[in-house]
Structures are given as C-alpha cells and as structure tokens.
Amino acid sequence: MIYSLCLILIGIGLYGILTKRNIVKIIIGFVIMEAGVHLLLILIGYRMQGEAPILQPGMKLSEFITRAVDPLPQALTLTSIVIGLGVLALMIAIAIRLYERYKTFDITEMRRLKG
C-alpha cells in the first residue's frame, strides 16, 4: 500500500512535468517527482521497528545489528538530493534567462525553434 502511494506521488510529479505550460510549474513537478523517488529509496531500506544507523558510545552492537535500518539507501538518497539540487539550480538559471528574453514563463510562447 505504502509503495503504491509513493508511486502516485511520482505520477503526480510526472504529470506536472509533462502537461504544464509554466516553467516554474515544471520545476515544481520535478521537485515533487524527486521527492517521490527519494521516499521510495528510503522505504526500501526500512525494516520494522528500525532505528537510525548511527552508533553512539555505549550502544550494544548485537542489539544494533538487529534493529538498524539499511544505511546504503540513505547514502544514495543523500547523493541524489544533492544532484537534484544541482539540476534545479541549472534549471532555474535557464528559466531566469528565458524570462529575460521572452518576458514570460509560458513555454508555449517560446517558439524560435521549429520542426
């Protein structure tokens, strides 16, 4: 059930990217889709009654091993968040420049390229 909800979130983001005309809305669609993907990764790494994979002084290793959640998807998510931020920065830069040129955020009015 929970995975399906996550997939619906991804689907909503995809819908925003593919159908919206406003550049800012497309960017918002990307943020939503990325949120869905990151949530999916973290959900895959979860185990029931799990706790954070951070060892503190005085913790019993044997108990930690049975309860800690998977650290690998978390590392992947962190990496992916940073990459997403980079892509968004570039996207916003291009959006600002396009606004400067065309005085609008509407992509259907940007029609220099044909074919």
């Binding site: 497309i26 889709m33 993907v37 998807p73 990496t79 892509v87 420049r97 390229l113």
Partner: protein
Amino acid sequence: MNHLIPLFIAVPLGAAFFIPLVSRHVKWVPDVFGNLTMFSLAAMSFYTIGQSEVYHLGAWQTPIGIDLRLDGLSSLLLIAINVIGLAATLYSVAYMRIFTSKLRYYSLFLIMVTGMNGVVLTADLFNLYIFMEMAAIASYALVGFGCEHEELEASFKYLVLGSLATLFVLIGVALLYGMTGSLNMAQVATSMQSAAQAAQGTMAKPYIFALGLFICGFALKSALVPFHAWLPDAYQSAPAPISAMLSGVLTKTIGVYVLARLLFNVFGISQQLLLILQILGALSMVVGVLLAIGQWDMKRLFAYHSISQIGYVVLALGLGTPLGIIGGLYHLVNHSVFKSLLFLNAGAVEYSTGTRDLKRLGGLNQALPITGKTSLVASMSIAGIPPFNGFWSKLIIIIACVQAGYYWLAAWAVFVSLVTLASFLKVQKYAFLDAAKMALAKIQHTPFFMGLSMVVLAILCVVTSLAVLSGFDAPVLIAPAADVLIKGLITL
C-alpha cells in the same frame, strides 16, 4: 592493480577544478590545460587495449565498495571518447574565441569527458547514474552556452527530457536494489538469473518494470525515434565542438553503450528484447533520414542524420548475432568519427561565413579548401561510398541482416543508405559546389587549429576503414568489444 583506470576520472576532474581557480589571473591556462589533459587522456586510452581488469576502489571487496571494470567494450569506448574529445578541444582553441568565458567552457567540457569515462568504466549501477548525470548536466550547460533565444530554449528542452530520463533510471536502480540487495552489475545479474531459474524462466514483475524504465530512459538519452524530440534543437544550437561531442560520443556513451551493457550483460538478452531493439532501430533509421531531407540548416540536417545512424547501430545490436554486434560496434566508432567531422565542418562554415543556411551558401570549395575536402570525405563516409569507413560498417550490417534471415531489414537499410546519399549530395551541391553567392572577401580563413582537427578526423575516417582488412579476427578493439556482448551475463 592497474592504476591507469581511476586516473581516467581523476585527471580530467583535477584539471576541471583547477582551471577556474587559476585562469582568472592567467589567461592562457584554459587552452593549454584543456588540450594537455585531453592529449594525455587520449594517449592513456591506447594503453587500455587488450587489458581487462576489475579495480576495487578504496581496496574494499566487491559488494562493499565500488568497482571499476575495464574490458574490451570499455576500452573501445574510451578510445572513441578521448580521441574525439582531443579533436574537439583542439578545434575549440580557435572556435571558442567568438564566445566569452573560456575557462567555464573548458571546465564543463572536461567534466563532461569525466562523466563519459566514468559511465564506460563503472561496474556499479548507482555510480553509473551519477556519472550519467555528470555528463548530462555539463552538456545541458554547454548546449545553452551561447545564451541566445534558441540556445536557451533548446537547452531547457534537453534539460527537462534528460532529467526525466535520469529519474526513470534512478527508479529502476532503486527497484533493482530492493529486489537483489546489491548495486554491483555482476551480482545483480547473478541474482536475477537465479531468481529466474527458480521461477521457471519467467522474470518477476519488478524486474520487467525496471527494464522498461531503463529502456525508456536510455532511449531518451540516445534519442531513438519516439524519444528524439530534444536532439535536433540541441545539436543545432550548441557550439560546433559541443555538437560534435554530443553527436559523436555523448549519445552513444550514455545511451547506446549503457543500453547494450544492461541488456546484454545484466538483464540477459532475449528474443523480445532483440525485437524491441530492432523496432527502435528501424524506426529511428527511416524517420531520421526522412526528416533530414527537408532541412536547410546544415547542423539541423546533420542532427537528423545522427538519429538515423544511431538507428543503424541499435538495429545491428538488435540482430543479436556475432556479425551484427561487430557491425554495430564498428558503425558506432565510424559514426563518431565522421559525424563529429561533419559538425566541425558546419562550425567552420559558420565561423567563416556567419551562416549555416544552405540556401545562402555556395562555392565554398575555393574559399575554404580544407573544410571543403574534409567535408567531402565525411559525406562520402556517411553516405557509404566504398573506400571510406561508413561503407564497410554498413555493408557488414546488411550482410548480418541477410545472414540472420531478416531480408526486409536489409532492404530497409539499403533504402535508408540511398536516401542518406541523396541528402548529402544536396549538402555538397549547395554548400561547396554551386556558384558562390557571397563575396569571397567576406569569407574568413579557417584558423590553423580548426583545420588541424578536421584534417586529423578526416585521416581517421580512412584509417578506421583499414580495420576491415583484419577481418575482425585480430584481437584488437572491435573483436574483444563484441566478445563482451556476445558472452552475455557478466560475472564477478
């Protein structure tokens, strides 16, 4: 361990980080550093011939750390990437004078090369995603480097579709990790195979879904036909050396190569997958070439031909026979040589005359002898005229089609080849042969470095055609690369 392997990533990265730091104060740094780095990379790439090895980064054993894998296929791609990259940087020394901010150009260029080298070398699915994104982001910025209306629009389109593709790939990677618990390609392949054996040969649905996402994502990246919308705009708008890199190696590396690697070596090839590849290839071949015929902008015309030629490669790989795979890989290499040469020619024409419109050009053979002659070589190569490399690879692909019993595919390939010839006769006639439409005095001479890189690529067009003499039995380059795909699943 062979320490050359991580240096393919470390060297260009170091140069890319170093250039912006220094060149605010010293103006000659970007040109010299960029070219030196690419030259050393090109030289290094020839040392990888015939080697195959798995490099454990950080000395961690396979599932714990990240592996780099060098084999015949990676070696072939490495040589293509770095040699074409060297030609493009040589060309940029003169060509990029018309733009500002050379330091950022070279830095982004080197990061793009790093990304491609990483994609080719890595044996880890998530690492593959990162390097793909690295190459792709650098290319988005480089496509929009001119900051005019067209450049920005093309760059945005490319950015949106490309990021969508990488998100698809990331979902696929997440699903594969959830199912198999590993990110290493060999481990994923092994556990998928054992799961399929346990279920009497049927693949579980998550694998199929991941496979579908991968095919969509990498078809978007390699601009196969239902997914080709971004390509003509991006190639038309980018600076000429970047168009050459994009068309010559980027779409092949982060599109076709990864697709072939995943389908043949990780998922294991099957009849249905081969059929999908054949359909994508055949469609791309014919749609690309038909759209190309009506174009009057030189770069846009070449861009549509790129779609068509990548169609040849994918079709040949989709035959699944050893001869087909050899033909496909041979055509991949040949195409990266002659198509980058064509884009560099278009850039030289634009640099000298200020336009790429075929209707306004004419008689350039007298004004620009080097560009005229090299573009003749490249046009003959792409159209498949006998002494040049394009002829041999297309011939092998057609023979492979016939051998595998797909007669109509062979006829299809011949037809597309004829249309390509017609289209390039048009380019030669309007741009180089017809009467001059513009005053000779207005035409600038081609700078030395641009001429040099075009001549080098033209010579490569002839040299690569000599590979056919070896009959592909010699264990150099193409035969070992094809072996990697023919052998199927990779193991630890």
